[in-house]
């Protein structure tokens, strides 16, 4: 397989996952032809290839051009990680205008010769067609390993690490629901969760029920940390206009913590950071916001072409 690996507006975290796969790192990078990967080899230009792995969202015209030339040269383009798929944490910058964002860090400083911004951060598939999406921050190791081994013609008969159906993080979580009621909203800063018991039920803000599964729920299940939604919204939330990350979670939490919804909303004022940290830039989620419900296909209008 001829492979190219590129980071656009990413943090190199997903890309470095490739270097954390132990033996598979050697067979994926050592035994395939890596044509372009600025992180690893010195080739300065993109060449025709079988698979292009792209990390990060698209923020400026240089990244847009790179995305377009990868689309032209690669048979398959894979969006690696939640930034490429949904815009990721950098997408939270879309809360403010690009001008405001720059002003906060650089005041009225004028740059010369740097690429023009696109106005906001866009997920990769708002710019080019994407063949496969592997969300996660970073994507689950087993998934990255399996996909790349299969694409390079190895790992024959290796079972898929993904569940057979589209399920949520909650369905993969091994924590138990006990039916006991929580006493109010909890925070990891102050409280120590009881081990083995569902975090949402205990009153923690856990996005498990509304987040795409396939990771095996290590954060809540193994580490006792509420799900932050890094795999992005579940299929149901993406498809159904009536479902939403914040609304659905608040509804459940209100029932579990025995706190009225209004009070929860006051206690959790940072809605973008709490509920949309990894998908704020995802156009499909925009229709969930006030006044946006009917514009299901608004996303089409947000596609940028060169």
């Amino acid at each position: 397989m001829k492979l190219e690996v590129v980071s656009l507006g990413g943090c190199l975290g997903c890309l470095s996952t490739l270097l954390e796969l132990g033996e598979s790192t050697f067979s994926i990078l050592g035994q395939n032809q890596v044509l372009y990967m600025p992180f690893l080899v010195d080739k300065k230009e993109v060449a025709p290839c079988d698979v292009a792995l792209v990390e990060g969202g698209v923020r400026d015209h240089r990244q847009l051009e790179m995305a377009a030339s990868l689309r032209e040269s690669a048979s398959r383009v894979i969006a690696l990680g939640s930034c490429a798929v949904y815009g990721g944490v950098p997408g939270l910058a879309n809360q403010v205008s690009e001008e405001g964002l720059f002003r906060r860090s650089y005041e009225d400083h004028v740059f010369q010769g740097l690429p023009e911004g696109l106005g906001r951060l866009l997920p990769l598939d708002s710019c080019i067609d994407v063949d496969l999406k592997m969300p996660g921050c970073p994507p689950p190791r087993a998934l990255v390993e399996w996909v790349l081994l299969r694409l390079s013609g190895k790992g024959e008969g290796m079972p898929s690490p993904l569940p057979e159906e589209e399920i949520t993080v909650c369905s993969e979580c091994r924590l138990q629901c006990t039916g006991e009621e929580a006493g109010g909203l909890k925070s990891l800063l102050r409280d120590q969760p009881r081990p083995g018991v569902c975090l949402l039920e205990q009153g923690y803000v856990c996005l498990g029920p509304v987040t795409k599964g396939g990771c095996g729920a290590p954060c809540p299940g193994r580490h006792g940390v509420p799900c932050a939604g890094c795999r992005g919204p579940s299929l149901q939330v993406l498809l159904e206009p009536s479902h939403d990350l914040a609304l659905d979670t608040l509804r459940r939490l209100s029932r579990a913590a025995k706190v009225p919804r209004g009070e929860l909303e006051t206690a959790l004022p940072d809605v973008p950071h709490t509920f949309y940290a990894h998908c704020f830039a995802e156009p499909l989620m925009r229709r969930k916001r006030r006044g946006g419900t009917s514009r299901f296909f608004r996303r089409l209008g947000e596609t940028v072409r060169r």
């Binding site: 992180f39 010195d42 080739k43 923020r59 860090s105 290590p218 004022p269 950071h273």
Partner: protein, 433 residues
């Protein structure tokens, strides 16, 4: 630039006579992290700050935690600070191994070969054993981070007030066992590096070396990744000033430059300084562990010390990797590590605080302001690359002047400049944020 962490290009601007007059580091890719965390509750801060950089996530997490703790007057317990140290040392080992293998080993092995073969993948095809060995140092660091914090990329371990959970006894034994097997590996790698630096002795003597001060975090016992203070050392190796952690943000002055999103930082607005392995070692006379101290003495005996000759940063990284290994073993054998209390409760409130840590690349500063409801009202990050910005630019200019007209091909000249950059192991995601 390739084989660098992130998107960076270097422009050499000639004067009328065609001689290099100015070098610019051109980095785009501004994402506005300082702005995008504004308004978040502290619950989400570490998770978000971590995403500034996937290669240095541990450093960002700990810096953010320290800023919160200093803002709210939280004292982290003994066991928790040891576990954090362990985590950061594991990360340092893994990060230095990455810089050494992927970014710099090919240059040291084949400084003049064709661009197509000068990378770790070609070396792997010829010398599979070497690459596997050096890489297992990276896996070892990754294993440490995984045991303490889940995933090696964006781990979960550091939380404001301490760490997520204590280290289990079986994990402790496993880690000790893995570490004990690494000794021959470290020795071999160290020998290999010495041999390569000797082979490239001329380059090592010439490259870099522009005059600048050095800045590094200072704790009680000398070399440290987190401490209550930072020490500014002059180019001559004499201590200039020691400043408390909470005052650092006021002493570093940032300013944007015309051709890059990467700001530069100056001490008090006038003095350029380096951060990173050479700066950390410049500030101490000994590390306190036998093997690393032996290596440090050897490095100091090479000639000028402290040095800005940037190829010696590779040797400095090796010293730090050995120190990290020795220190991790002694930490894992330390009874104070075993405490069950690893987290103190944190009550969000108004305040402001600075958190300073040494990331593998150099000093990383977080300045945080919290509003009355305990939400973030302001965050300012000063990254290691911002500190190294001017010295790196100056080193590149020196190198460009040496190269002008001297080398055979443009490609070779370009790689020489790249070698200077790689020796700094710059991280652009942290740098521009």
């Amino acid at each position: 630039m390739t084989r660098v962490s992130g998107d960076l290009s270097v422009e050499v601007v000639p004067d009328e006579a065609g001689q290099p007059a100015e070098v610019r580091l051109c980095a785009s890719g501004f994402r506005g992290f300082e702005r995008l965390v504004q308004g978040t509750r502290l619950d989400n801060l570490v998770h978000l700050a971590s995403r500034t950089c996937g290669l240095c996530s541990v450093s960002h997490q700990v810096a953010a935690c320290r800023a919160v703790e200093n803002a709210l007057g939280v004292e982290v317990g003994e066991a928790a600070s040891r576990l954090r140290e362990l985590l950061m040392l594991g990360h340092l080992l893994s990060s230095h191994a990455l810089s050494l293998t992927i970014q710099s080993l090919p240059d040291l092995l084949f400084p003049k070969s064709d661009v197509a073969v000068r990378n770790i993948l070609s070396i792997y095809r010829v010398e599979e054993e070497i690459v596997r060995k050096v890489f297992s140092l990276r896996f070892l660091g990754g294993q440490m981070v995984r045991a303490l914090g889940g995933n090696p990329v964006h781990p979960l371990a550091p939380v404001p007030g301490g760490v997520l959970r204590p280290l289990k006894e079986d994990q402790r034994l496993q880690l000790l066992e893995a570490l004990s097997r690494a000794e021959p590996l470290l020795e071999e790698t160290s020998q290999l590096l010495k041999m390569l630096l000797k082979r490239n002795a001329e380059l090592a003597r010439e490259m870099g070396g522009s005059e600048s001060a050095f800045l590094a975090v200072r704790g009680g016992e000398g070399w440290t990744l987190t401490g209550g203070a930072v020490l500014l050392t002059g180019a001559d190796g004499n201590a200039v000033e020691e400043v408390k952690e909470e005052e650092l943000a006021q002493r570093l002055e940032e300013a944007p430059l015309p051709h890059t999103h990467l700001k530069r930082a100056l001490w008090d607005g006038k003095l350029a300084f380096r951060v990173g392995p050479l700066a950390r070692l410049a500030a101490v006379s000994s590390l306190g562990t036998p093997m690393a101290d032996g290596e440090l003495a050897e490095l100091r005996g090479q000639g000028e010390w402290p040095t800005g000759r940037i190829m010696f940063a590779h040797a400095a990284r090796m010293v730090e990797m050995i120190y990290a290994w020795e220190r991790m073993i002694s930490l894992l054998n330390d009874a104070a590590l075993a405490g069950e209390e690893v987290r103190v409760p944190v009550e969000p409130a108004a305040g402001s605080g600075t958190g300073v840590v040494e990331s593998p690349e150099g000093t990383l500063t977080y300045y945080l302001e919290l509003g009355d409801d305990g939400r973030v009202t302001r965050l300012n990050i000063v990254s290691p690359l911002q500190c190294n910005h001017l010295p790196l630019q100056e080193d590149l200019l020196l190198e460009a002047r040496r190269l002008a007209g001297a080398l055979e091909t443009e490609e070779q000249a370009r790689n020489r400049l790249e070698m200077v950059v790689r020796a700094y192991a710059p991280c652009l995601a942290c740098g521009v944020h």
